[in-house]
């Protein structure tokens, strides 16, 4: 299944007032056609962006018209956030043209984008926590009065109150932003966008942390924006939301434009197919290990705000994949298992014995190793040589009594053993880790944790941002580990990796386990649907209960 453009590159433009998407379904026109009723307010053509040789976006184009809500869809890493950053002036595109209201524009700074009328409501709100709501809305553009000019606080607060009245939201304008809930912060951001006469408002997963009531409130506000002729670009992974608010969709995959059209003409499974739409083409090493006895058992693991009632079990020689959207709580869960989050509680059994892990040191002592996602900050000490990085967690076992040369020799021997196993490419073991490539740095991290001789190893996005060759080495290595009887938890946002490597896949959504698939039951479509929360667990075929 390659990049089939689904319904005939259909793209249409609803008239500004037409909120029911069906009304627009009559005029189908090609993306490049000029037969439009209303000119698009924002048009992208041929946008490309590369980061140090890695292509993040390639020839992406779409258009939004005033009073239209467009859903921007794509898997993790499809290039949505890069596109948002280009539109808001944080990144500059390498190729392509952005046209705003018929004029080509380039946003050199975020402020330029904002002044031109393109604003974004970010998933993680960008705000001044200690300042008041009113000031957050007006920061940088406070109304002045008198001479010498001074900030007119009263007018500022009155304007903020008017904005909230328009949104029909009640918020104290003098409250500090740090005391607000996530939803209220979103409203402040929307008010800020409104106060700037935004022509285009980009909402990046605005509903991620909202309750049902707050989401309805948000829908209402989106309706208002639409009625006022503002174009809204709505990014979300939740299909019910997309179908509820958006008129059209644009799908990106691997940094490319895949398809666009009216939501009235497409069904949810078809959308999922467009988003996933690729063969699991990479070859993954097969491990035909018959899983042994249960090593790790987690029951009712909870955290007040990050995850809830997570239960799963892990057997010897098994790889269990954790799939989910970014921010589904997978990393937070793993950090809690490793003893980094004291607020978490629940039952964790290792070899049937209940253990209490309240610090990483205890986790290591129990034979649990955690390879974090953020390699540069959490995984290695960049300025130390390779061998010291590898022996860091086991320094005490090398023997404090040994000193000087003998100790060093032993450290080097350990480093050599694991480096050979991992095909680490370095000129010598005294080289600083900072001088290695990303893939080789990752191998150092793996070697370091292997040296602790773990029973359970948790790998958090082990192949993120490394080249294909190193990826294959890491995959090969993971299956070797399993062959040796280790149990592996593989957290990954890459569908092919999860499908290719894992014996079972746990799908998380908003901090809860959505469903568990066996290897032969898991399909890309099922995983994506489960990760976006659109499949109720009870109706799933082939889903295994969470234990």
């Amino acid at each position: 299944m390659s990049s089939t453009v689904f319904p005939a590159a259909g793209s249409f433009f609803a008239p500004p007032s037409a909120s029911p998407p069906a009304a627009a379904a009559t005029t189908a026109a090609a993306m490049t056609s000029s037969a439009r009723e209303v000119l698009p307010v924002l048009e992208l053509a041929g946008i490309g962006k590369r980061f140090q040789g890695v292509v993040a976006l390639n020839d992406v184009g779409f258009a939004v018209r005033p009073g239209e809500v467009m859903a921007l869809l794509g898997e993790n890493g499809a290039g949505k956030s890069t596109l948002v950053k280009i539109l808001t002036g944080i990144y500059q595109p390498d190729d392509g043209i952005i046209t705003l209201a018929g004029k080509p524009v380039s946003f050199a700074t975020p402020q330029a984008a904002m002044q031109a009328g393109v604003t974004a409501v970010h998933q993680e709100t960008v705000m001044f926590d200690e300042l008041t709501v009113a000031e957050n809305i007006c920061m940088g553009r406070q109304p002045l009065c008198g001479f010498p000019p001074r900030i007119d606080w009263r007018r500022m607060e009155a304007e903020a109150e008017q904005l909230f009245a328009r949104l029909e939201v009640s918020l104290p304008v003098r409250a500090r932003v740090k005391d607000l809930s996530v939803a209220q912060r979103h409203f402040v951001e929307i008010a800020r966008a409104l106060s700037q006469q935004a022509q285009v408002v980009i909402m990046d997963e605005p509903t991620a942390a909202l309750s049902q009531r707050e989401i309805r409130e948000l829908y209402r506000i989106i309706g208002q924006l639409r009625a006022a002729g503002t174009a809204v670009i709505f990014i979300s992974h939740k299909f019910d939301e997309i179908f509820a608010v958006a008129d059209r969709y644009t799908v990106l995959r691997d940094g490319r434009f895949i398809a666009a059209g009216a939501l009235a003409d497409i069904s949810e499974p078809e959308l999922v197919a467009l988003m996933v739409g690729r063969d699991v083409g990479q070859v993954f090493p097969q491990h035909e290990q018959v899983p042994g006895e249960v090593v790790l058992q987690v029951e009712n693991f909870c955290h007040p705000s990050e995850f809830h009632e997570v239960s799963f079990s892990l057997r010897r020689g098994e790889i269990i994949g954790f799939y989910g959207l970014v921010g589904a709580g997978r990393s937070e869960l793993m950090q809690a298992l490793f003893g980094l989050t004291p607020a978490a509680h629940g039952i964790v059994r290792l070899d049937g014995k209940r253990i209490r892990v309240s610090s990483p040191a205890e986790a290591i002592a129990h034979g649990i190793a955690y390879v974090p996602e953020d390699r540069q900050h959490q995984g290695v000490l960049l300025s130390l040589p390779i061998f010291q990085n590898i022996t860091l967690p086991i320094l005490s076992t090398i023997g404090l009594m040994l000193c000087g040369r003998r100790r060093r020799r032993q450290e080097l021997a350990i480093a050599r053993r694991f480096s050979e196993q991992l095909e680490l490419k370095a000129s010598h073991f005294r080289q600083q880790v900072a001088q290695l490539s990303g893939g080789n740095q990752q191998k150092v991290v793996l070697a370091k944790w292997l040296a602790t001789n773990p029973r359970v190893i948790i790998l958090d996005e082990p192949t993120k941002g490394i080249d294909i060759g190193s990826k294959a080495a890491v995959h090969r290595f993971i299956s070797e580990l399993v062959a040796q009887g280790l149990a592996v938890i593989l957290v990954s946002s890459e569908l092919p990796e999860v499908l290719g490597m894992a014996d079972r896949v746990v799908v998380m959504h908003q901090g809860t386990v959505q469903c568990v698939f066996n290897r032969d039951q898991a399909t890309p479509e099922l995983l994506v649907a489960a990760a976006s929360g659109s499949l109720p667990p009870s109706t799933m075929n082939g889903a295994v209960p969470c234990h």
Binding site: T109, D129, H303, S305, E332, A343
Partner: protein
């Protein structure tokens, strides 16, 4: 706080934090008044008008420097070079007065201010435009400026014999009952209060301190704002340089040695967060007054000067602890909010 009542500890601390964390200023003001009265009971001489006048005059320079230091700290920065800057500007003012006795006082004051401004601009340029860490830059310039004092003076003192009477008299001359330094400090407090509250410059500093990235998003020119923040701090140090030298009628290489730490301490006591983004003028002023009261009052009740610094330290630590308790770290909100009460209930029952 004893081992016998461990369960009481955290609620008590939480309550304390609750009471103490939010409006810091009234509390600090009450504390100062209480301290003054307490000392007054033991040493009635402390409560006289003359003693209060002394207290104000003594604290004026500290207050003035705390004002600009507060702005710097609000931007997540720190200016360690204020005391050296003060010494260098003061020494240059004294040398000017010595070598050119015919120069009018206003020119000398303007020169001191200008020298301080230039030294501050240098800090600001390095920090704002070259994005160097403030603590490193000002640590370096602190030594450079102090070194220049030695170079310029040749290690020699400039004493009152070498200064004109007018030069020496200005700070302590009285106007409507209060000394000039007190009036200057009052003027500075009003000016900086307006600056911090009613100008975009002032508000931008808070924005930068709260979130430098977000500040960029709303179009705040951070480098230019930082340049002028450190310039203000420098100019204030320059002005205070003249006032210091004239008030004590002597300029020597060790003037105000280590005074930058007192200034920073005043800000911290006044609730200015070293992490940036939090703090206001009244806090800085009250913090400075508090330190001045401790320094002036304790000798009157025969408490050893060694205790003074220990006491100051305890006050700083308590201020920091209160700040830390006030800002609890938030966990990431991943679970949908309707899970919250249930999860919290579970958490409550098991812990």
């Amino acid at each position: 706080m004893s081992l016998a009542t461990p369960t009481l500890r955290s609620p008590v601390l939480a309550l304390l934090a609750n009471v103490l964390s939010r409006p810091r200023e009234p509390l600090l003001a009450a504390l100062i008044v209480m301290l003054i009265l307490l000392v007054g009971v033991r040493a009635p001489a402390f409560l006289t008008l003359r003693s209060m006048d002394n207290l104000l005059t003594d604290s004026a320079l500290l207050i003035m420097l705390a004002l600009t230091q507060m702005l710097v700290i609000v931007t997540r920065g720190i200016d360690l070079s204020v005391a050296s800057n003060l010494a260098l500007s003061g020494m240059m003012a004294a040398l000017l007065a010595m070598h050119f006795p015919q120069l009018p006082l206003s020119v000398i004051v303007a020169a001191a201010l200008g020298i301080g401004l230039v030294l501050g601009l240098l800090n600001g340029w390095l920090i704002g435009y070259l994005s160097l860490p403030p603590i490193v830059v000002t640590l370096g310039s602190m030594s450079v400026y102090r070194g220049l004092v030695f170079v310029l003076s040749g290690g020699a003192w400039v004493s009152s014999r070498n200064m004109s009477a007018e030069f020496v008299a200005f700070p302590l001359t009285r106007l409507a009952g209060l000394t000039h330094v007190v009036w200057l400090a009052a003027l500075a407090v009003v000016a900086f209060w307006c600056l911090a509250r009613y100008t975009r410059f002032g508000r931008d500093l808070y924005a930068i301190g709260n979130d430098p990235v977000a500040a960029g998003y709303v179009g705040i020119a951070t480098p230019r704002r930082l340049l002028w923040t450190y310039a203000l701090s420098g100019a204030m140090a320059g002005l205070c340089g003249y006032l210091w030298v004239a008030r004590y009628a002597v300029a020597y290489t060790e003037i105000a040695y280590g005074f930058e730490l007192t200034v920073i301490a005043a800000c911290v006591i006044g609730g200015v967060s070293i992490a940036g983004g939090v703090g206001n003028i009244s806090g800085a002023v009250l913090g400075a007054l508090f330190l001045a009261v401790i320094n002036n009052a304790l000798p009157m009740v025969q408490i050893s000067p060694f205790w003074q610094s220990a006491l100051t330290g305890i006050v700083i630590l308590s201020a920091v602890i209160i700040n830390a308790r006030g800002e609890k770290k938030r966990a990431k909100q991943i679970l949908p909010l309707h899970f919250q009460p249930r999860a919290a209930a579970v958490a409550g029952s098991t812990s």
